[in-house]
């Protein structure tokens, strides 16, 4: 009888090996349902190898996403202090010049700040959506608007349908830690190569670790600024200010615009970096939580499958033995 049992067991294992493909497909399709399926003669039960492989990969994913969350959290701490310190930088300019987001000019330039790396939730898509809406808003029969894109993710999304509107793209902004000199050089580059009457900068402002608000800052060229201030527009009483400093008023205004642009860009790039890290933290957090849940479900399936196959084998052996006894 012992020989019969071992023979049956060997037969069962051979059948298992021969019919893994069907059971694999079955297991892949519905891991929650565990039942011995109709298989060629001699097959005993579903292979647990498939479920085990899935469990291993899900566990790895969980580890990776948890590690990414930790990395993002530690980077965020460092960048957040610098961002908060730089928040005072653009306020004097807005206090002086006001803000005119609805200004109507011929040459608009939209600077969209996005991230280079992915896996950071929806912040890049939000920025791109807002930029596209802005572009529709500011283009018309006599006016045009062009893009300057910072970051790979924005470039990839905008190049699909607005390729001819893209004036300039910049990537690898965060290879070295962000500092004012680097951003000032970049701002200078943009101002030199792009003709503009108004520049609109779009970025995600960091409000808290889970909340980011798309923000729009408008910077007018010196000529437009003079025109607006003379016509009594939003620029406020720029005329009432005495200009202290050497040459003509327009030269001072030119310097002022360039300085304002570099300060605004510095703050914008920092805020966007903070938002990116915060978004990545929450995305990776929910990923690892999902992976954990999936792992629990797979473990249950695995155990059920394993126990079912053991039960089946036992039943067959016992029924075979009792049949032999007669």
């Amino acid at each position: 009888m012992a020989m019969a049992m071992t023979a049956l067991r060997r037969e069962g294992r051979r059948a298992l090996l021969s019919a893994p493909s069907q059971s694999a497909a079955m297991a892949a399709r519905s891991p929650a349902i565990s039942q011995p399926e109709i298989a060629p003669l001699g097959a005993r039960s579903i292979s647990t190898q498939i479920v085990r492989n899935r469990m291993k990969s899900v566990k790895n994913i969980q580890k990776i996403t948890k590690a990414m969350k930790m990395v993002a959290a530690s980077k965020l701490r460092a960048v957040q202090t610098r961002t908060e310190n730089s928040r005072g930088l653009w306020q004097p300019f807005t206090a002086l010049l006001g803000d005119a987001p609805s200004v109507d000019v011929k040459k608009n330039v939209i600077v969209a700040i996005t991230s280079d790396k992915g896996l950071c939730g929806g912040i890049n898509s939000t920025s791109v959506k807002v930029s596209k809406a802005l572009q529709k808003m500011t283009s018309g029969p006599e006016k045009e608007s062009k893009y300057v894109i910072l970051g790979e993710k924005g470039k990839v999304q905008l190049i699909r349908d607005s390729r001819k509107h893209i004036e300039m793209t910049v990537s690898e902004l965060q290879k070295n830690p962000i500092n004012y000199t680097q951003v000032a050089v970049l701002a200078d580059d943009i101002l030199k190569n792009v003709e503009y009457d108004a520049i609109r900068v779009i970025f995600n402002k960091f409000q808290s670790v889970i909340s980011f608000r798309p923000t729009l800052v408008t910077i007018l060229s010196p000529e437009v600024m003079e025109k607006e201030s003379e016509s009594g527009g939003k620029v406020g009483d720029l005329d009432s200010y005495e200009i202290e400093g050497g040459e003509t008023k327009s030269e001072i205004l030119q310097n002022l615009t360039e300085f304002q642009f570099s300060c605004v860009m510095y703050n914008a790039v920092l805020e966007n970096a903070c938002s990116e890290l915060g978004a990545r933290m929450s995305a990776m957090d929910s990923s690892s939580r999902n992976a954990g849940e999936m792992l629990d479900r797979l473990t249950l399936t695995y155990n059920r499958t394993r126990q079912a196959s053991i039960t089946t084998e036992l039943t067959e052996i016992i029924s075979g033995a009792s049949a032999l006894e007669g």
Partner: protein, 206 residues
């Protein structure tokens, strides 16, 4: 599937964040008093799309500035900001002296509204009997009608942190470079170096 879950979380969080942003009423001397958002902008935005929420503007994120008072206030409120920190934030002082390109300028409460471009030099803040001196690299100073002064500079160091010997050495280096400069760019760079270092020298000695 993981991406969708993350996206859902992010959009839920963003919606929560959007709901909690408050709109502050603004009343400043410069900008006409209105809510933090520009109504014309919101109008134009709604024409383009109603699904996407309009972006925030800086006015909504700033603390409102006080209006111009009727009489000259007794103290000057100073904001001195650098890219990496706010050195002085809303401090009430008696007087500040800024190194404008036209020379050292003193600003007292009630000073006329001015935009001044700064050259490398010493900025001193006078509060009662204390004087705090900084060497600023360059920047802008705005004096508003409501006796608030904003100084924005690229770099500033308190005077006691500057090393005299290094300044002398730098001055000598740049003067030599100026002498041997060939292209316009090199000449400009060397000239800037000479200006900054002589200003540093003057600040330390004077």
């Amino acid at each position: 599937m993981l991406r969708h879950a993350a996206h859902r979380l992010a959009s839920r969080a963003a919606a929560a964040g959007r709901g909690s942003v408050s709109r502050r009423a603004l009343a400043t001397a410069e900008v006409p008093a209105e809510a933090g958002e520009d109504p014309a902008f919101l109008e134009a935005w709604k024409k383009v799309t109603t699904i996407i929420e309009p972006p925030q503007t800086p006015l909504a994120a700033m603390k409102p500035r006080p209006p111009t008072p009727a009489s000259i206030p007794s103290k000057l409120t100073v904001n001195f900001v650098l890219p990496y920190k706010s050195e002085i934030d809303n401090k009430e002082v008696d007087m500040i002296m800024v190194p404008a390109t036209t020379g050292l300028m003193g600003i007292l409460p009630g000073h006329v509204s001015t935009i001044a471009e700064l050259k490398p030099g010493v900025l001193s803040v006078h509060e009662g009997n204390d004087v705090t001196k900084y060497f600023v690299s360059s920047g802008f100073a705005f004096v508003h009608a409501n006796s608030i002064t904003d100084v924005v500079a690229v770099e500033a160091v308190p005077l006691d942190q500057i090393d005299q010997s290094l300044v002398q050495k730098g001055l000598a280096d740049f003067t030599a470079k100026l002498g041997s400069a060939s292209t316009d760019l090199e000449k400009a760079e060397a000239q800037i170096g000479v200006d900054v270092h002589s200003a540093l020298n003057a600040a330390l000695t004077g």
